[in-house]
Amino acid sequence: MDRDEQQLAEAFDATVAAEGRIEPRDWMPEGYRKTLIRQIAQHAHSEIIGMQPEGNWILRAPSLRRKAILLAKVQDEAGHGLYLYSATETLGVDRTELTEKLIDSKQKYSSIFNYPTLTYADIGVIGWLVDGAAICNQVPLCRSSYGPYARAMVRICKEESFHQRQGFELLMTLMAGTDAQREMVQDAVNRWWWPSLMMFGPADGDSPNTQQSMAWRIKRHTNDELRQRYVDMTVPQAAALGVTLPDPELRWNDERQAHDFGDIDWNEFTAVVKGAGPCNAQRLAHRRAAHEGGQWVRDAASAYAAKQAERATRRQEGEVAVA
């Protein structure tokens, strides 16, 4: 590191330490840039892949009201993906490059989306538990040290609140219905509870990047801290709903003023991350098909833009009479 770079690094550290924000054209350590690209791209990919399990139910929504809500939610996920791709582009990567890395399995997305949505209750449980866990993760990121990421997270968090509440309302409606509907909710909770705990990532002891990310204030809390917060928030919600969280060891610990809970099956987590989840292949194949199948739309838009530009030029030159 030469003298100039030393000074730049000191200025960077001082800005971060003073809770200032790093902006796109500021000098930043290469590791900071790489960590941000990896984290924000993973997040963006998760939003985009996350459209699939819910999109699966748009045509089978039980009413026009539910269909309109689900459509709006899935559209939001697309928007969140775009806000985040836009943030990564400020770091000098190209969205197209990121899309290619996703469909070539060179970058990851959240493993939660490798589980299937088997019934309509899953749509409610995704809103309540999966989006609830996402909110827990994302609210602190609104104070992330990288300006464009933090600003994207502010927009996203505002919209996630609708996602979680629509899910909870959907489940309340089902719980007020028939026994079969209540069983459907409990079955969905049984399947999604553990994967939702895994959304916070490996335990702190197995998360080698956490310390550096916290020092750079990209992350504000450890995985285990956020997971604990999520469990403590969710238990009373489950009680209000009248469902049982599928963990016999889940109980209030008066000494810790927090809930104790059972061990997560990290073997399952690792297997799903590595591609052995129920839907990994399907999700990527679908994303690839959508990307390649959409090529003609992008081509048509380019052709239209070129034609309009040419017409405008000709009009200016007086070669074409204005109709």
């Binding site: 939001d76 806000y83 190209d94 919209e159 833009a305 070129a306 034609k307 040419e310 030029t313």
Partner: protein
């Protein structure tokens, strides 16, 4: 990154799109500014790619104002923006640094003089 590099109009009016080039790699980047309501300035909200100005405006409407966040949108091609460089932040803004007399608090006025 300009569109002209990649999509050139053919003399007969047929666009010439290079095969194998994914257009959104080459579509220009637009910065998006939204006026939240009448009486407020347009504020930068993010960016997007689009093949031309018109589609950039429509995409910005869909992406950044899904919940009545705005009454007016500007889209500006990112390559049309000239910005000060963060590296020369101090010298660039230095001229205003030593002109304390530009601030009202520079002037000492007796406290019993009204409306000042």
């Amino acid at each position: 990154m300009s569109m002209a590099d990649d999509v050139t109009a053919h003399p007969e009016g047929e666009p010439d799109i290079r095969p194998g080039v994914t257009p959104d790699r080459t579509w220009p980047l637009y910065e998006v500014f939204v006026r939240g309501k009448r009486g407020l300035n347009h504020v930068h909200v993010g960016s997007l790619h689009a093949p031309d100005d018109h589609m950039a405006l429509h995409n910005a409407r869909n992406l950044y104002t899904r919940r009545n966040e705005g009454v007016s949108i500007w889209v500006v091609r990112a390559d049309a923006i000239t910005a000060s460089s963060p590296d020369e932040k101090d010298p660039f803004f230095a001229p205003s640094g030593d002109k304390v007399y530009r601030h009202p608090t520079f002037y000492e006025i007796p406290e019993d003089v009204p409306h000042l």
